[in-house]
Symmetry: C2
Subunit: 428 residues, 2 copies
């Protein structure tokens, strides 16, 4: 039997407490599987006195996570504090400088500082792993990095924020508007302290940036992502989309185009009968597409104590087994700065707008679309309100750039009442 693998855990919120519980309850099982015992040397958190439902008396307490991270009796620093800078980054850097392996669930820190941290780890011969940072218990990082290593990745997609998916499916099921369901989610404690992280697509965007780096061998580049949240999704769009056989999801997509790497996090229409379309409530889904493997769909809980702690242990037990993989699936020095492509991958779009009720109005819109080279797949005018008529259009494939030009021109026709809604239809 080799020496135990000794953890230092910083951050004892839901996930940290979950990790401690697994180490305590499944010690023998994990030793049997990996041939190495996992122990905890010390822990650190903001409050020492808070009751977390786990017995911490056997572990040393450190007030300072940096001190914890560099202790001689810590082999793996487990960073579960969160926050892109501050103590999490300082302690991670200190651990790496001391040659420790690091396991983290911190998507924000890696989305912003992933490249420099990966390079630092590599220079020290240390591992920096983050299965828990993306889609909770779903083995997205391992599947993409290891299982699909023989594939050229053609597209990565994901519904990676459970709160957004909860809000969208709840709107649809109950026929409620966004503000009402947002209020419900807030009352239930589903939202981050800054809700923009959830509903603005930032949290999910962080995760997509990490997947894209692995998929395409590029330096993680959160800043290059086109991000749009779900705040402007109306119940009317959800219902119209459903009527045409679609669901609206906050969908992340990363794909390499002829012009560079395109990463988008935005509401999209997907077919109601597809796995993504069928995904309800707070469940997450990752879709990986490779040139040989085709489409692999992974579904599970994207957050919560058990699933996220399970993912942390996945990384820890890899280290116990001697499995050492580069942070983003290849040496950090070989990751290239991606040329960033914006909105070049063509897709059909869903358009909804209110037309003022006068002769020739629809013809003007159709002309504008035609002038922009956008052809119409389906169109319908439904109902009628006082002086305006709501119109739905599904276009044939076009680019977001061409569409934005058409939208600007539509604005100049004077036949629209209010701004049109435009939502991408992602073929899944």
């Amino acid at each position: 039997m080799t020496k135990p693998l000794r953890l230092g855990i910083a951050g004892l919120g839901t996930v940290g407490a979950g990790v401690v519980k697994i180490v305590q309850t499944h010690a023998d099982l994990m030793t049997s599987r990996t041939g190495r015992t996992v122990t905890i040397s010390a822990v650190s958190a903001r409050s020492k006195s808070r009751d977390r439902g786990v017995d911490l008396t056997a572990y040393d307490w450190e007030d300072d996570p940096v001190t914890l991270a560099t202790r001689d009796d810590v082999d793996v620093f487990v960073e579960l504090m969160g926050g892109e800078d501050g103590p999490a980054k300082a302690a991670t850097e200190a651990a790496i400088a001391a040659g420790k392996d690091v396991v983290t669930a911190n998507k924000a820190m890696l989305a912003i500082h992933g490249q420099e941290l990966a390079e630092a780890a590599e220079a020290q011969g240390a591992c920096l792993r983050f299965e828990a940072a993306v889609a909770g218990g779903i083995p997205a990082i391992k599947a993409l990095t290891e299982s699909l290593a023989g594939n050229e990745i053609t597209r990565v997609m994901g519904v990676m924020n459970g709160t957004c998916n909860y809000i969208l499916t709840r709107m649809q099921d109950a026929g409620l508007d966004y503000q009402t369901v947002f209020g419900e989610a807030e009352a239930l404690g589903y939202l981050e302290a800054d809700p923009t992280l959830d509903v603005g697509g930032i949290d999910a965007g962080h995760k997509l940036a990490l997947l894209a780096a692995i998929a395409y061998g590029t330096q993680v580049d959160f800043g290059a992502m086109a991000i749009e949240g779900i705040e402007r999704i109306s119940i009317e769009d959800i219902e119209q989309a459903a009527d045409m056989g679609y669901r609206i999801k906050l969908l992340g997509v990363a794909q390499m185009t002829g012009r560079g790497l395109e990463t988008r996090m935005s509401p999209c229409l997907v077919p109601a009968t597809s796995p993504l379309g069928q995904l309800e409530n707070a469940t997450n889904m990752i879709v990986l597409e490779g040139d040989s493997v085709g489409q692999i769909v992974l579904r599970g809980a994207g957050a919560g104590e058990g699933p996220t702690a399970s993912a942390v242990l996945s990384d820890v037990l890899d280290l116990a087994r001697g499995i050492r993989v580069s942070t983003f699936g290849r040496p950090a020095g070989e990751l290239v700065a991606a040329r960033s492509a914006v909105s070049t991958a063509p897709a059909p779009f869903y358009l909804r707008f209110a037309l003022v009720d006068k002769p020739g109005a629809l013809a003007k819109i159709a002309t504008v679309l035609g002038d922009a080279g956008i052809s119409i797949d389906r169109m319908r005018q439904y109902g009628h309100e006082d002086t305006t008529a709501p119109v739905l259009i599904v276009t044939h494939k076009t680019t977001r750039t061409a569409l934005d030009e058409a939208l600007a021109a539509m604005d100049g026709t004077g036949v629209l009442a209010g701004a049109p809604v435009a939502i991408r239809i992602e073929e899944v």
Copy 2:
């Protein structure tokens, strides 16, 4: 740069040719990801002259796979011949004896001889890996072995034979009976030379036996599995099940019960709205349940050149990266002979039978079920044929053992026309 990882590939059917193609087309990509170049030293197959759509001139040819397996210039023996004994087993044993790592897609060989082969590999310090043997391109083995290593596994389920799922969904979609669709599948070349391997549940059973060994740390025991194929599924059952919100799937289930390890491969009813219920055509699905992670669902192509070759490369590239995991996820010597439990996990059942048309007939059946301790959740008599009346019953949870007793007693009542149909309803 370390030395190349040199493969010897035995078996150049669809999958073998697919592996060669990936090695040829993605050499640089794979080197970049793993830090090690993968090369092919030699190949072997039954016919040297057959055109396989790949250029093999750069590789040595061996007529005898045993000779191939033991060549000095082979680091990894890739076994893609198939067959539980014969050349596949002989060459695998020879490779292991020579200290080579082995990657195989051979579910039959491992389901029957897995324990002895795993022990032999371990004694030699060799790796024996088999991602491609279960569910094609779906990373089922890696997810269960590595990603869920911190979980006590509570249940493993899977739809792992694409042909059976194709037949069942085609029957439902087209309203056709089993024999007609079986004939279609045969004409399309979807069936194994011995179709019983597919429709009899044996192929899928082999895969389930491998998953169960990993999940529960038990010696693989294909003989202990209760196997029932889809040959007796009628279009009437598919339609009645659909009418009640269910789909019929050939479902493998492995779970540890108080009485031992229960492994079953049989047609089951699953909710139409569940991921398993929504699975159509030849796609496969693996459902892994752990005490921390909850339910993880993996979906993808379970067969075919690209997906299966991708899984072979997953194992090969793990070895290139220095990832070495025990065959069944823990040392072969620690795998225990499982106590085998048969039909002890309770479930509701679907029953369909034709009742002779005389007073008190239904009461007799209800009495028999009550005497066996089986209570009725739903019952309905539908339609009417000449002298018999078809009846459907959904029971509350009971065991297969209790049900079988009740079925025997029903036979003695003299009010049944023909044998009843009984199908388990698996709660997913």
